[in-house]
Structures are given as structure tokens and as C-alpha cells.
Symmetry: C2
Subunit: 256 residues, 2 copies
């Protein structure tokens, strides 16, 4: 049977989702836990490759295996095999053809940062400290220029070659939240390498006054990475939400 899992992970101590030669990965840790629990080799496919230090509040993975454990009990059984920083919250049998990566139609990332001269020891590893004041309304105005189907060459790092640098961003929202944090949510049909971290870096330049909101339009049109803001550190980035069409089995699992 084809089993889909909903999970969350704190990526601080991992070299990203994908199996790496030089360090432990979420994929490897989850694969090992499922194989031990079910007593058979499994191959776990994930919704996307998150980089070293990046977190996921809601991630979907799937694997094919024989499993006699009822689905409602599978999360707790898997969690008993997993370290504290990875937690499975839901499991469902999905159609044989379902693939967590290829069937994902939309993703939302959230980038958390806080403007402060002083670090907050309780935000370490899960938010980026920006050392200057930030104007959230300006950032929100600048963020709207990222929305739409357009070329995002100006806000990506050079990684694996891609056919096209055109992507569709459905929304980009800058909001205050608890603990003096600012959250930047970016939802799209796909993302280029380091794209959200470069969008967040560009919005810090807008928020601190180095750029005007409308400069984002000019930067995107230039297609030149050097015109945009910096790529912010991985620690503030969370894969926040995933969308799958025609897979009602994955409809909101409670996170708690």
C-alpha cells in the first residue's frame, strides 16, 4: 500500500531533507524509523528538498510498504522511533500513484525575523535577527510586486540548472506576530533555489528604507541577482503548508 505521512521537523540539526553523504538528513532519519518499525526496507519520497537548517511545520512524505498497523496509530508508533525534532502527526493510505513530490501543486513558505539590536535566546535557530528597525507596512507594499506569474531570476541563487526561471507566486504577505516577530509568507507553484530567502532579504531592504517598495518591480525586471537584497540565513525559513489536488486523505490533519 502507498502510505502518506504528515510531519513537522526542526531542521537545525540536519543537513536538509535529502539524504547527504556528509551528514544526517530528515529523509534518512524517517526512512530508518519506518524501516525499523515495519521490518522491511522502504523508500521515502518527500514533498521537496529543504536546505540545511530549514524547518517544516507541515511536510508530506510517502512510501510503499506492507503495514498492518492501523493508520490512526501509525504516527505515535513512528514517533517512538524518531528523535524529538521530527514529529509525525498524521498518516493515510493514498492511491497507488500518489507521489508527495510530483503531486504537490502549491507550497507556502514562511520566513520569520525580528528587528532588534539584541538577540533573543528563545528565538535562536528559529528566526533571524535583523539589526535595524523594520517598517512592516512598507514591506507589505513591496511584497505585492512579487505576486503573479513572472521571471524570478533576480531572487535566486545559482544551483541545479533549471529550464525556466518563471514561477507563479499566489500571495506574499508580511505580518506581525507574537514575540516581536515578523512573518513573511510566500505561496507559489514552485520556487527557485534560495528564492524565499532572497525575497525576504529584499524585503528587509524595503523595510529598513534602503529600497522603496516599487524598487522591487525594477529589481525583478532587471533579472539580475546583484540588484536584490541578501539571501537571509536558513534558520528563519519554514515550509509552512502544502496543497495536493484530488487527495482528500491529506485534508487537514490536526497538528496537535
Amino acid at each position: 500500500m502507498n502510505i502518506a505521512l504528515i510531519l513537522a521537523y526542526n531542521g537545525t540539526n540536519y543537513h536538509g531533507w535529502q539524504v547527504q553523504k556528509n551528514g544526517s538528513s530528515i529523509q534518512e532519519t524517517l526512512t530508518g524509523a519506518a524501516a525499523r518499525l515495519l521490518g522491511q526496507p522502504v523508500s521515502v519520497s518527500g514533498a521537496g528538498r529543504t536546505d540545511a537548517g530549514v524547518h517544516a511545520r507541515r511536510y508530506v512524505a510517502n512510501f510503499h510498504a506492507d503495514c498492518t498497523i492501523p493508520m490512526p496509530r501509525l504516527p505515535l508508533a513512528l514517533n517512538a522511533q524518531l528523535p524529538e525534532d521530527i514529529a509525525v502527526s498524521g498518516a493515510a493510505v493514498v492511491p497507488e500513484g500518489f507521489d508527495a513530490r510530483f503531486d504537490c501543486t502549491k507550497k507556502e513558505y514562511a520566513y520569520y525575523l525580528y528587528p532588534s539590536r539584541l538577540r533573543d535566546p528563545f528565538l535562536s535557530g528559529r528566526a533571524y535577527r535583523y539589526p535595524y528597525p523594520l517598517d512592516i507596512e512598507r514591506m507589505q507594499a513591496g511584497a505585492q510586486f512579487f505576486v503573479g506569474k513572472q521571471d524570478f531570476a533576480a531572487v535566486r541563487s545559482i544551483g541545479t540548472p533549471v529550464k525556466s526561471t518563471v514561477r507563479t507566486i499566489f500571495h506574499c504577505e508580511v505580518e506581525p506576530c507574537e514575540d516581536n516577530l515578523i512573518r513573511i509568507r510566500v505561496c507559489g507553484d514552485g520556487f527557485l533555489y534560495n528564492m524565499v530567502r532572497a525575497i525576504a532579504g529584499t524585503l528587509t531592504y524595503v523595510g529598513s528604507g534602503k529600497l522603496a517598495p516599487a524598487d522591487v518591480r525594477v529589481i525583478l525586471d532587471s533579472r539580475s541577482r546583484e540588484n536584490a537584497g541578501p539571501t537571509l540565513p536558513a534558520c528563519g525559513l519554514f515550509l509552512n503548508r502544502l496543497w495536493y489536488d484530488h487527495t482528500p486523505e491529506l485534508d487537514p490533519f490536526p497538528l496537535h
Copy 2:
């Protein structure tokens, strides 16, 4: 001169505030940072001994030293010498006789917990997961029996001998907060060993229905530790606020 510092720390990786033989402490780390920065031996006194794994959102320490660095610059200068999990947010010259421990008149602790069958990897190390549902209104009703000047022998662990087990609790409030967390705030003129963790454990019994709110009265009157709930783990406990009389220099420093 006598210098007071306001600081916060994530206690996860420390053996508590006080210098220990068997592991690193906040006191030792802060003492080392101040001595390196000022080029002289210093002796740092702290507001209280927090146990291994316990955090502080707002802590006060003081030391006597010669210091030519202006007070507004001292926090950043010290933070450059400190690890990520300790952060100084304010510094002030205080009267020669001021002592962070003996002049503290009231303390507030906060205990954070979340009721869930499933762990949250982002709350690990800073909140306790309670595996059953909790009724916050019942907990709040039970909490009121802890308020007042009374004998707290039923909610302490045996530690260093104390002259009296009578303390005054000024408030005890159970409140919902972000991320499905429940916060228990306890403010008093002093606390017995593990007292807040035993109060929190007793309130989980009230919240899950094992005890009625009014049973707290009976438990306190019994003066017997075995009648109360469990001592909850250190990870959920934060020293939250401190009060000093006649020391306007310590009036609210901004945390950010």
C-alpha cells in the same frame, strides 16, 4: 562601581545558574565573559539559583568592577563574549550596597505546557507536553487556592533545609497563549525547592479531572508532598520577572 545586568537565557544546555563541578553554569559563563571583557576578575551574584534546564526571560545579576565602557554599550559588548543562549539586554550602575539576590522582593515564574498526544518539535526544550486534554478554567479555579501567605510543604521537594515552609504567593494565573500553549504564572516573595514545578503538576491533575479545584485546599492543609501532583520537568519553567524596591535603575529595560 556596582554594575547590575538584565539578561535572559535558554537554560537547556546548562546545569543551572550556579557554578557546578560537573558542568557549565550560567553564572560561570557570565563571569568569564565579564572578566574577559573588563580584564579583571569579577564575582557575579545572581537573583536566584535556577535548576538545570530552567530558563530565564528576565534575570538580574550584579558585580563590582572598574568599567570605562558606557552602560548603554555594555550589553552588546558582553553579548559578543557570550554564547547565543545567553543575552544581556540592559546594564546600569546601582548603589554600592545593591545585591541582586538579597534585594529581590518578588519573583514571578512562568510554566509553559501544551496538552497533546503528539509532540511539537518547535516547543521541544521550552514547554512540557502533557498527554491528556486540560480544562484551563478548572486549572485557574484550582490555582486560586495557592494564593496567600500559607504553608507550602505539600508542594516542595526535599532540598537544602529551610527554616520555614511558609511563603506568600501574590498571584497564580493560568492562561492560554499562542501555539496551543498554556501558561501558569506564579508570583511570590520566595519559593521552596521545586515548588513551581509541583504547583504546575498539581494543576495538571486539576485540569485533567483527577482532582477537583477545591482539592488543592485539602492538599495544602495536609502539608504532605505525596498528596499533590508530580514535579513537572525543568524544560517548561521560566524565571519571568523580578521586582526590586528602591532601585529605579532597574526599571523596565526594553527586551528588544
